[in-house]
């Protein structure tokens, strides 16, 4: 109560020195989390590296404005130069421009696929954990999905539907939607299981019983009391989901069944570079390094978040 009064006073008179002092004592959950996160050096470096990669990929093409698809056989297979910092490929395309363009697609695939799998996973996890009637069927569905051999199935699905979707939705949107959809729809199971487990234990705790006993509606119990408490595993699996989606996309492209060569991603560039590995190893190294650094920094952020969001570890 006093806390709330003080906060109100701060907003009324922000310049007052004594109140400012008092306000530093106010601690919110997210401030605590941030304080713990700050102590995780790896996670901070991860945030920095990821920020650099994202900025480079988003703003890079407007600074390094060579068209990624411009062919120039006269400068094929060149090493790094001032004009082409990463060198050129066997058709004379600029490698830096290709890596930047590929990164946009790879990152977009990672984020969108993660969002799909997160929404599906959280929904199924909460429903299964909260409703005893749905628990059985939903968990059997999860088991069924976990038993599917994902990589072979993904390869098969992409092989079969790639051309159909490319003609239906256009070459770029078609393959993008297909990849995002199949990756998202095949990676929600872990999130669902973790969320279900947490919901099962949280819904038996006293504060949920208290909320129910004063007549809180079920939907409100879920959104107000249960979801905030499962936010930490959801956030951790979100970060790991991005990394997982990027890896899956690259693996599919690496096997030649992902994005087409005229719409490259990092995985596709790696696949195309494999045959020229002895001649121009940088064609393998740069896209591979981009994938690895992105996934590494995302994983570090996830690790830092996990430590920061776990109240048992906080403050150690």
């Amino acid at each position: 109560m006093t806390n709330r009064l003080i906060e109100r006073d701060i907003t009324a008179a922000p310049g007052d020195a004594t109140l400012k002092q008092l306000s530093t004592k106010h601690r919110s959950l997210w401030l605590d989390v941030w304080n713990q996160f700050r102590n995780h050096t790896g996670a901070l470096i991860g945030v920095a590296v990821l920020a650099v990669i994202v900025i480079a990929v988003v703003l890079g093409p407007s600074i390094h404005d060579i068209d990624a698809q411009r062919l120039d056989p006269r400068i094929a297979n060149e090493g790094p130069s001032l004009e082409h910092p990463f060198g050129t490929d066997n058709l004379g395309r600029d490698l830096l421009a290709q890596v930047l363009a590929g990164g946009r697609v790879s990152l977009a695939v990672g984020v969108v696929a993660m969002l799909i799998s997160l929404v599906v996973g959280t929904l199924i996890g909460v429903l299964a954990g909260f409703s005893r009637m749905l628990d059985g069927p939903l968990m059997r569905l999860t088991d069924l999905f976990l038993a599917l051999p994902l990589l072979p199935l993904l390869l098969v699905i992409i092989l079969l539907f790639r051309d159909a979707l490319r003609t239906a939705l256009g070459p770029e949107a078609g393959i993008f939607l297909l990849m995002v959809f199949v990756i998202g729809i095949t990676s929600w199971m872990q999130t669902a299981r973790i969320v279900r487990g947490d919901v099962l234990s949280i819904k038996e705790q006293e504060f949920v019983t208290a909320a129910r006993s004063i007549g809180t509606r079920k939907r409100r119990v879920i959104t107000r009391h249960i979801l905030p408490n499962v936010m930490s595993p959801i956030m951790v699996s979100a970060t790991l989901g991005v990394a997982n989606a990027i890896i899956t996309e690259s693996a599919l492209s690496f096997l030649g069944l992902g994005f087409p060569p005229d719409f490259p991603t990092w995985g596709r560039l790696l696949f195309d570079g494999t045959n020229f590995m002895t001649l121009t190893p940088e064609r393998v190294i740069w896209p591979g390094l981009a994938i690895s650094l992105t996934v590494l920094s995302v994983n570090y952020i996830g690790d830092g978040l996990r430590d920061a969001l776990d109240p048992r570890l906080r403050g150690r």
Partner: protein, 337 residues
Amino acid sequence: MFRYIVRRLLFAIPTLIAISFIVFAILDLAPNDPTGNLPLTIPPEVREQIRESLGLGEPFHIRYVKWAEQFFINEPLNILEETTGLKIGDSENRLRVRSWATRSPVVDLIVQRLPQTLWVVGLSYLVGILIAVPIGIISAYRQYSLFDQIGTFVSMVGFSVPTFFTGLLAIVVFSVNLDWLPSIYDTTLKVTNWSTFMQQVRQMFMPVMVLALFNAAQLSRFMRSSMLDNLNLDYVRTARAKGMGERAVLLIHVLRNSLIPVVTLIALGIPTIFSGAIITEQIFRVNGIGQLLIIAIQGADIPLVQTLTFIFAVLIVLFNLLADVAYGVLDPRVRYD
């Protein structure tokens, strides 16, 4: 426990039937024509006959039941005959799942390819576990120490860098620049004496190590976090309060308890590394079942893809079951009945 296993086995049957149906249905929706790669000079009537001979004239459900009969009844009978030497029924005329590309039975193709995969995958998993467990223990016990920082960093790198990049890097460094190891797996090599044995070791070294480091990275993370979960628990404090030595607390109390989820994860991870081997086999040109799958997919060899994908599914279901049973056996707190 026994009742639980029986119940799980009974549940595995509808799961596998559902999966086989899903796999079959997805492949049947294929818009690509298996005769599409044949020369254009073949007249349409002949093309239709070829389609008939491939069994494509029948409606979907009949083809599914036929495939299921061939896979679930005829192939096991064949294996039984070959191992026991018995003759069961009309074995010459028994229909088998045949590859469209080679016209030989799919199971024979898989049996030819399986040893290479098992050697590479099995060894790499074993090496991975041997690396991972000690690293996980020390990392957790000395959390945030220098060893933990380095171990965590290395395993994060190993876990994040995909095998198709580490594999290619290893080839660039060890095969192209240093010329120590062969980059392509020689599948015709027969181990007869010491020098061919060494050759086999050298050609297996890179694929095994690339996969092993990847597995070790993942497992050591799990090992570490499982140890950390246990290290903060009350029973550890009790053990220390009783005056037990740190070694006993760590290696007897904490390690045993933290190995329970790790053993489960090891069992759960076996099928996924088979699919991880698809990529590794592709990089190093190992002629295992992963490479067979890629060839089959590229050649639209539907029966082969169906059977291989389904075998991957069987592996997953089997090892899931094993993991759950192991969990029940190892952890007395888990009671299934």
